[in-house]
Symmetry: D2
Subunit: 296 residues, 4 copies
Amino acid sequence: MVQMGLVGLGKMGFNMRERLRAAGHEVVGYDRNAEVSDTTSLEDLVSKLAAPRIVWVMVPAGEPTRETVVAFGNLLEEGDILIDGGNSKFTDDKLNAELLAAKGVGYLDVGVSGGIWGKENGYGLMVGGAAADVERAMPIFDALRPEGPREEGFSHAGSVGAGHYAKMVHNGIEYGLMQAFAEGFELLEASHVVEDVPSVIKGWQRGTVVRSWLLDLLVRALDEDPELDDLEGYVEDSGEGRWTLEEAINNAVPAPVISAALFARFASRQEHSSAMRAVAALRQQFGGHAVKKAGG
Amino acid sequence: MVQMGLVGLGKMGFNMRERLRAAGHEVVGYDRNAEVSDTTSLEDLVSKLAAPRIVWVMVPAGEPTRETVVAFGNLLEEGDILIDGGNSKFTDDKLNAELLAAKGVGYLDVGVSGGIWGKENGYGLMVGGAAADVERAMPIFDALRPEGPREEGFSHAGSVGAGHYAKMVHNGIEYGLMQAFAEGFELLEASHVVEDVPSVIKGWQRGTVVRSWLLDLLVRALDEDPELDDLEGYVEDSGEGRWTLEEAINNAVPAPVISAALFARFASRQEHSSAMRAVAALRQQFGGHAVKKAGG
Amino acid sequence: MVQMGLVGLGKMGFNMRERLRAAGHEVVGYDRNAEVSDTTSLEDLVSKLAAPRIVWVMVPAGEPTRETVVAFGNLLEEGDILIDGGNSKFTDDKLNAELLAAKGVGYLDVGVSGGIWGKENGYGLMVGGAAADVERAMPIFDALRPEGPREEGFSHAGSVGAGHYAKMVHNGIEYGLMQAFAEGFELLEASHVVEDVPSVIKGWQRGTVVRSWLLDLLVRALDEDPELDDLEGYVEDSGEGRWTLEEAINNAVPAPVISAALFARFASRQEHSSAMRAVAALRQQFGGHAVKKAGG
Amino acid sequence: MVQMGLVGLGKMGFNMRERLRAAGHEVVGYDRNAEVSDTTSLEDLVSKLAAPRIVWVMVPAGEPTRETVVAFGNLLEEGDILIDGGNSKFTDDKLNAELLAAKGVGYLDVGVSGGIWGKENGYGLMVGGAAADVERAMPIFDALRPEGPREEGFSHAGSVGAGHYAKMVHNGIEYGLMQAFAEGFELLEASHVVEDVPSVIKGWQRGTVVRSWLLDLLVRALDEDPELDDLEGYVEDSGEGRWTLEEAINNAVPAPVISAALFARFASRQEHSSAMRAVAALRQQFGGHAVKKAGG
């Protein structure tokens, strides 16, 4: 059993603390929300951990994570390890690692998949960093990852940054998978050939080529709302899809499916598309085609 | 100068009659709308033409054109020629030609491009059919096509169906061109780096790689409405884009740009996308991600 | 236990006979290959079955299936049922059903998923046709489908044609899923950030959002050939992807992911792309850009 | 008439010097290639110009341009103007402008379109920077831009960076336009319905919706090589397409056509696609589908 700090007790961090404690580990959690926090400050958290320490940071990517890392750079000591388990961009990891290395503090970046189901099912983990640091944190990873062979729910992806890179690509793939199911769903709905669309999708859960966890979740959503009428077709994107596409561009890798999935999300959020107004304008200009006037 | 019949005096046919008459040809026009029609019936039209006749049909593609061809199959005589200048699917042409061939009537299919500007600028023409029939109708084609070398505004694309096929592909390309300009326009609008978007686009009309008639039309539209605010981003599609994509599929030709342009039109007409509701549902299921509730 | 005929003992039919017999059913199989056939002709097969009969046809889609249905139209009797379990286009089903209905023979169309793994795991089944016919064939479906709740590996999708329609959409989705994984794999390979790509992908099998049967198969392929060097990037397509896209067009459903996956397959089979030669030619024309000369 | 320096006398710069001199301007050109250079060094070039000076830099984007700007930062004086006419990324412009502003030197960024044809036809120009600097350089712009109204071949797009941004979007659109024509060309070639593909494309030059300079260039290429057999379908990309897509991502602008055009270029350069090997591997795993073995 290990002792560890855990900073950030939101939807993900809170559940992870539960899973870690259930596995017998001692977790000192910190959150700005005092109701869920075990301690009053980062300083206090550090003081409650015996050296050499392991601190897991689970706060929003970007500035919040960067600032937390900087803060720990002034609090941790040689031999400690800081783990960033958030959805950080892999390019942040090198900066974090260098900052901490100057103090002798180790750094691991961990891509964590599984969402709200991870507490029960375990989290898929992709780790970047030095092998020795990975080894030291392995009891934590073993508690967080799903039951079954370690190599099926955990990977040491490479040096610093590789964990978040692997997670980024994982999420890019996820965008494509979701959009593929979504297009099939829409075609089934629109064509009216299949009479009971939810029952067909439910029937894909066993034996078919498309069986998958996302399909199970789609079945679950359709059980609750068979035509998904309660939702709007408005979809956010959270960074990793964009970064995957940027990396595809940087590496000259064709990514038509992942980009299509990302663009579908962009379009879903537009009330008025400048592009499609331009197409309408062109058709009106050359063909005298009827167009829809705004407000008409 | 030739004598000819012209059936269908809508936006396109009406203008074509003007251009043909301006070139000195004798045109007997028929339309269901008596106000613009020169004659009272197809029978009357045929009786007013000296054999061997040429009749140009310019009615909506599909049933209206097919029915008109059938009607003329019972009215025309051996040696006459019927020309379908509408936006018919190329697969209709073989049926039309066979039906008329049984009566000894020739058949030409003509793809006509240029929209409402054709009256003044001339129409781009793509013709399918027998060389002898093309030769006989050449005075008509010469009157309709733009000034300049014949081969730059007219082509004999091949046997029956080739004219409409060429026009179909032309329109598929047109979809792609329009969407390319539209995406660029939207990016200029969204990024706010360029201060006066219409002036930049106007400045592309000479010397640049993208100079084109569609660009000129976009400039014209922006002159009238600099942010295209008067229009909705709602765009119809009229057949040829779909057929081009079907033919790409049939011939195993990758068509990512033409399909993207077509799908953007489909999406522009959707108020609620089943696909994007499915993606929203999946995100809600696995991540507890906030979603927009319908009506919320 | 039921008695049935099974026509077509290829890769799929042969395995299905095994699974059906293992479940205790009496299967009289016919194949042109006498080595695997239980009977010498369709006539003989029919004579070996007691009325009312059930005959399952499992031959290649298109002409072979259509011809087999016609043959059975002359052999089966009122009250018999013919099942087409091949990958037929849904539009064939109506023709088959009408032909057989004239003889009083029932017709079911069944989409069968699962490939070579179905013998062991069971096959995902999507069925179209009359409820009474589905009910009569249910013991067969129960033997073929996977263990577990019937509704998770079987659906009665609707009337005739709905089974193959559901399978068509299933396969369209499958194209998209495969391409999503493929793009992610290529990016991991190309970027060289992740050190051991197969171990990262293996580590996605538990706990992650992308866990799925296709991922398990990718892991299996990488276990055998870690860089997939033994294969060429040459991918056939087998009909359903094209039909899904045709149906998307017919129903004005945007399908950017499914079309991208199909076009990637088309492109994978091209040694020389006319399109890309045209782009190279244009760049050469306007910019004097260096291009690759053929044979150079 | 103005006096000016011009650094970089490659394909573009050399032609521009010709055009500028033909318009009566005094151009002191510098190039590392002494055969074309008017002067021996940047220092010498500066010494030959009377203050306040205008120097146009036309060297490759990225490091070469950045280094040249730094060098001129040490050579130019308050009141001089430096113009970057290369294909620099718009983000470089702010750095350049700040560096020079510290010395009191003005900065303009100019996107230049037109390729090798610009010498004769004039170049389309998009300019970013302060209005006063634009005004001072206007005689140069007027000499370089095409005949006709200034606003049809020139725009002052906005402050520093806006010129290159406009050019970047122009090139992104250009990618889409080229790919649209390319897909249409391939379909015409593959379908064999049209008998003489080059003559159909030539016939699109007048009257049609797709008439454009790129079409004229395609006609020119087909005149030289009717099946484009002398070229390989291998297409480079030169930065602006990638940057356009990055900016689309940054601004949440759907860019399915521009991305498809870029990805088609990426794919055109791949001998072995890891992605398509992964798809082939998956098909082999689930279906026992025949695949092509490498080297087979």
